[in-house]
């Protein structure tokens, strides 16, 4: 079999297995040879290697792959450097995300997406009709939204004002006095009114087309923004022994990643491992083996960057461990929280 045929026959999964040292010797030998004799194959192998290193850095490797990556792949200074580079590169790419999206906009504009749409007469008419309809609907929804928001603000201000006045009177009354005045009734009415307005506003915002219709100049930018990962950040404080209410994190359905900063009790800047578990089954559904703590003021913390698709509406625990001087894993803390979607 010639090398081109062999090259296309090999899947990326097989190449990953080769890089992780888990491919049978005979197959590995064929790849050894191709990796030296065929430049195109060597490039493909390198691309698969980058994807593998990226997957490790982003906590996407699990089970045997993770074990082999750490036990086999990382056993070389060259490859360790590659993994370190990947970590730095991802941070760099995130920091420069604006530049990336700017160029996305530029490229899409360059292609003249709108001008291509307008080459079709039917589409042109449909677009114009849609634009009129969207403008009318968007305008009405916009006004309705503003009206509800105004009413909500007024009701909230009145309720807060009354609450403040009631608080002052309570402080002036002798202890043990219980009063059910007209003010209390009014306060309860205002609270109910505020809750009702909040519900209406939420319903209005949930309606499709609440945003004003897109202007042509906005379209490329909007498209670029749709490819920006939606990342939500949360902070979990060190777990306490007293059983209080579970911290709750609310993830909208379109969230891509949940970045959870775990504040540590200790201020030592160790390297930690983090596992995300389902307490009901004790199953590990995500992990990361090497997270270095950072210090901000007196508080040290580590960050877990978890793919949001792994988090369903239930309770989870993030278990944090570190290596002791004897080389054993030492439990640092379990951060239990509830996910609401």
């Amino acid at each position: 079999m010639c090398s081109t045929e062999l090259m296309s026959e090999l899947t990326d999964r097989q190449l990953s297995a080769y890089l992780l040292g888990s491919l049978p010797a005979a197959d590995a030998e064929r790849i050894d040879e191709l990796s030296v004799t065929d430049e195109a194959f060597a490039e493909r192998l390198r691309a698969v290697e980058y994807d593998l290193v990226d997957a490790y850095d982003q906590g996407e490797l699990l089970g045997a792959d993770l074990k082999n990556f750490e036990g086999y792949y990382l056993n070389s200074p060259i490859r360790r450097n590659r993994a370190n580079f990947a970590a730095a590169f991802h941070t760099f790419a995130s920091v420069n995300a604006d530049a990336a999206t700017e160029s996305t906009s530029a490229l899409v504009s360059e292609k003249g997406l709108l001008s291509r749409i307008f080459e079709w007469p039917t589409l042109r008419l449909a677009f114009a009709a849609g634009l009129v309809l969207m403008t009318a609907l968007g305008g009405w929804l916009f006004i309705e939204n503003a009206r509800l928001r105004g009413e909500l603000d007024t009701a909230s201000a009145r309720a807060e004002d009354m609450e403040r006045q009631a608080e002052v009177r309570r402080a002036q009354d002798p202890p043990g006095t219980v009063k059910l005045s007209d003010e209390s009734v009014e306060l309860a009415r205002l609270r109910a009114e505020r809750e009702e307005l909040e519900r209406k506003l939420a319903r209005a915002q949930a309606r499709p087309g609440i945003r004003p219709p897109a202007r042509p100049a906005d379209i490329p930018r909007r498209q670029a923004q749709s490819s920006i990962p939606r990342i939500l950040s949360f902070v979990l404080t060190p777990p306490l022994r007293s059983s209080g209410q579970l911290p709750q994190i609310s993830l909208p359905e379109d969230t891509d990643r949940a970045v959870i900063r775990l504040e540590l009790e200790s201020n030592e800047l160790h390297s930690y491992a983090v596992e995300l578990r389902e307490p009901a089954t004790d199953r590990v559904i995500w992990n990361t083996r090497k997270v270095t703590a950072v210090r901000s003021g007196d508080q040290s913390s580590i960050t877990a960057n978890i793919p949001a698709r792994l988090l369903r509406r239930q309770i989870y625990t993030l278990s944090v461990t570190r290596s002791s001087s004897a080389g054993e894993r030492e439990i640092v803390g379990d951060y239990t929280f509830r996910v609401v979607r």
Binding site: S35, E43, A88, A93, L107, A293
Partner: protein, 208 residues
């Protein structure tokens, strides 16, 4: 571990003369004029091969392989039995087998023990200040090295590695469409730029 000899195979005393090196480049180019790029490419591929085989000094073993090929070429005037890259691989396999045999003969620490020790070194308590400093240096080097890239390449690599999971996949698909190339070709293009960037950053971090 650091005081061990760097290369386990018996190094040939032969070295490239200017004439031998020119002849070697001509043979390696196999009829094309690569201006030394073929030499660098095969050296890099051999280094990666020895590294994947778990050798401790992959760069030295790659050089040793190319030296042996060069000597044979000088002695015989030509090598026509195999294509240049294939012949280099054949010699590399012998170099690797020698490396294994010599290690076994010296009765050195079994490979598993070495691996285990390296793993514990890696996962043990690290010097975080040093690590932090390295991270900062790497980041600065990334900034300066990426500035040296052609703007189109800088933009391509930032976009290619932008996002995670489905966002990343969708982004790459869109990029390939815009550029009018296959996903595979795009991946190779991004890979080449990343490789350049990695080499530049590694040199910069080492202060070279």
């Amino acid at each position: 571990m650091n005081d061990r000899p760097t290369t386990r195979v018996k190094k040939s005393s032969w070295e490239f003369s200017e004439g031998a090196f020119k002849a070697f480049l001509t043979w390696l180019d196999d009829g094309t004029e690569s201006d030394g790029r073929s030499y660098l490419a095969i050296q890099q591929r051999l280094t990666a091969y020895f590294d994947r085989k778990g050798c401790q000094t992959p760069v030295n073993l790659a050089d040793e392989t190319l030296n042996r090929v060069g000597r044979r070429l000088e002695e015989e005037g030509e090598i026509i039995t195999e294509a240049p890259a294939k012949y280099c691989y054949t010699v590399a396999r012998f170099v690797f087998l020698e490396y294994i045999r010599d290690n076994a003969r010296r009765g050195e620490v079994p490979l598993d023990d070495v691996l285990e020790r390296r793993i514990s070194d890696r996962t043990g308590v690290s010097n975080s200040d040093e690590e932090q400093e390295l991270k900062e240096r790497t980041f600065k080097c990334l900034e300066s090295c990426s500035e040296n890239l052609v703007p189109a390449n800088r933009s391509l690599i930032l976009r290619y590695y932008f996002g995670v999971e489905r966002t990343k996949i969708e982004n790459r698909r869109q990029m390939a469409g815009e550029l009018g190339i296959t996903a595979n070709a795009l991946s190779i293009r991004a890979c080449r730029i990343r490789e350049k960037l990695e080499v530049c950053v590694t040199k910069c971090v080492d202060g070279k």
